[in-house]
Symmetry: C2
Subunit: 415 residues, 2 copies
């Protein structure tokens, strides 16, 4: 089963916004076994939209269109599609009611341009908008479907998840596709692939494995297709378990969309423990990551950003001698920083990072990308050196992830 | 002048990566007066690529292709284009030398698949790669051009900025388009537009104004088109200066790509001053922003992430009474936090943030999105409340920007 995605909007063609909708839709379509043949972005003009729709119908059975449905004069999609499907327009009182409620709730006036959103092509199925103003339209043509949705991402996502994906599954009898994702942290895909070779090489043809790496995190996604859902689910569970048994606890940290900072937070809660941070080159990024999780105040106390050596000494008690003999980017320094955090901030665990993010500041012994991570509690302390020869941005981002990787392993007692 | 962008890659069609290349290229093309007619994403297959190229040549004069040029077997673009242009292949010793140097520098082996990158279609102009491995190809056909570049963003950008944009300008006699951007911070576009109405309403038709808002920052871009560059430049400079005079120093902070954190950093250097931070709800984001600027260690000392009230007291000297009477999210608390940073971290300036990022923790008097910002030096202290009723992520991101906005105004003595 093949689909086309048509994105309508001059704001994409002038590069003002990035087409994130298309990626999201492609991902969701793939997950239900629909292959995206192509993605095309066209301008807000009737000719261009008609041409793209016409070509898409020639090539594919499912056409998803986003954009060009608002009340402004630039948005011509509705009229163009009505013309394309040779449809007149029908007034929908229920949509007008939706719109009135929506505008009233926001204290905004009911302009004529908004009222025009209640006029819809007679030949389409109307899907009401529960997140915004413009309704979606579903047209059928010779067993094929075209769905036109607003371009606002969270409105489009609601239409897709509430109606469109299910409709595609039912109407096109798509295969049962099941996915299970294991989240791994702190190890690259090549090593992971090597470790689980015994499992992946034995996978039957209808179950595939994908590696999705991003900044120190690798998502391993098993996807199976078949007709009998219960059996397929059992198979996927078995293989997932086999991989988990190999990679957990060191590399595999969770499933589905688990985030490393949330996994660490959960572990802190389970241990009834608290955390503080002591950051140099990451400048507060680890602390910020921890606080992106709602409720993190239950276990995250805070910490120090010690960009200067003076603050490393004053806030964390790093010794002058350590800085003089070993420098700020050293095993001795991050150990004292992590221990200083535990002691001075009175937390169960402390995590410390000191490195050279570049572009300046490197030396032959300590080139740009040299980063030391330290983790401590009251009993012991661990430190590890990383070599990350990349840009300033990547050095800090990967360092922050690795700090949490080592913290987690330390908390589990496996380093 | 019209262009098409063709993005090749299954990883885009399965939604694994977002097509940021196309937006960037569209932006750059628009800046030199080239209109992007459409953007199309196709799979890594010869048929599909050929079809897209063929259609693009029918519609437009400039075709930019990215992706599908690496050494792996999935990458079929080079062969497909050679076939399309009926070209045989030529071996390029200079490219092989580039590749050998590149691999050697990274300690990677010279595989046959890498060597194959030195074979290029005879009918194309080869543009050597200065950032990666695969060279770019420029084909001409009946006065039209097609440029095929690798899909790696920083390689593509280098090709565009080093060769392709200039080539387009020369070959197609594009109009002179000049841009000048003023960066504003801490005020929304509606208010800014109102303030500079006297200038924008008097703009001649060939000079346009665009507002590009993003998280507390608004870029005001003046774009002019014409034939006579010197005169156009003078006109744009005049209008820019008029706008600058209205918006500076309070709102307008810089030009072109100036970043708020860099502007603040420059100001600190000029004043021979230092900064420390005291962050609660932003969890280190302000500190992290400051440290994204290379060389920030000259003025940024570090600071405290005081997520817990205990650390607010211990590290910043916030009084128990303040927390009990006013709470952590209060004018009194951020003032003490900012002053505590100045005193305890011994810096010229201190900036503090305390707020309710949500989703929990709100109350009728202090709903989610209530954020207090404090700025202090040894002589005085300033505090301001923000109401940001959005998501946790937006509350922290906008708060961090606003903290630097108020810090800058405080340093300039205008608040």
């Amino acid at each position: 089963m093949q689909a086309s995605i048509i994105s309508i909007g001059d704001e994409i063609l002038i590069g003002q916004i990035i087409n994130t909708n298309a990626s999201w839709m492609a991902q969701k379509l793939n997950e239900i076994g629909v292959h995206v043949h192509e993605v095309i972005t066209v301008s807000d003009t009737a000719n261009h939209i008609t041409q793209a729709v016409d070509q898409a119908f020639q090539k594919t059975d499912i056409i998803l269109v986003t954009g060009g449905l608002g009340p402004t004069k630039d948005d011509v999609t509705k009229k163009t599609l009505a013309d394309y499907f040779e449809s007149d327009m029908t007034f929908h009182q229920d949509i007008l009611n939706d719109l009135e409620r929506y505008m009233q709730k926001r204290g905004r006036p009911m302009l004529d341009s908004i009222k025009s959103l209640a006029l819809m092509p007679s030949k389409c199925e109307v899907i009401r908008n529960q997140k915004g103003t413009a309704a979606a339209m579903l047209f059928e043509k010779e067993g094929k479907i075209l769905v036109s949705m607003p371009g606002v991402p969270y409105e489009m996502k609601d239409f897709m998840e509430r109606v469109v994906l299910d409709r595609i599954k039912t109407q096109f009898n798509t295969p049962t596709i099941l996915h299970k994702t294991i989240i791994c942290a702190g190890q690259g895909e090549t090593v992971l692939a090597e470790k689980i070779k015994s499992v992946t090489e034995a996978l039957p043809p209808h179950i595939k494995m994908a590696y999705l790496p991003n900044m120190g995190i690798v998502r391993l996604r098993l996807s199976g297709s078949g007709q009998e859902e219960t059996q397929l689910q059992a198979e996927i569970n078995t293989y997932t378990q086999q991989i988990w048994d190999i990679l957990h606890p060191k590399y595999a940290i969770g499933f589905h969309k688990d985030k490393l900072e949330a996994v660490v937070g959960k572990l802190l809660l389970e241990q009834n423990a608290t955390l503080s941070t002591a950051e140099s080159c990451t400048g507060g990024l680890v602390a910020h990551k921890m606080t992106t999780i709602a409720g993190s105040s239950r276990y995250f106390e805070g910490g120090a950003v010690c960009y200067s050596n003076r603050l490393k000494q004053e806030l964390l008690g790093v010794k002058t001698e350590t800085l003089e003999v070993h420098g700020a980017v050293s095993e001795a320094c991050v150990k004292e920083m992590a221990q200083g955090a535990v002691k001075n901030f009175n937390t169960t665990y402390g995590v410390a990072i000191s490195g050279i993010a570049g572009p300046g500041g490197g030396s032959p012994e300590k080139p740009v990308g040299t980063v030391w991570i330290g983790v401590a509690n009251q009993e012991r302390v661990f430190a590890k050196k990383l070599s990350l020869p990349r840009t300033r941005e990547l050095v800090t981002a990967v360092s922050a992830t690795m700090a949490l990787v080592f913290l987690r392993r330390f908390m589990l007692g496996i380093i």
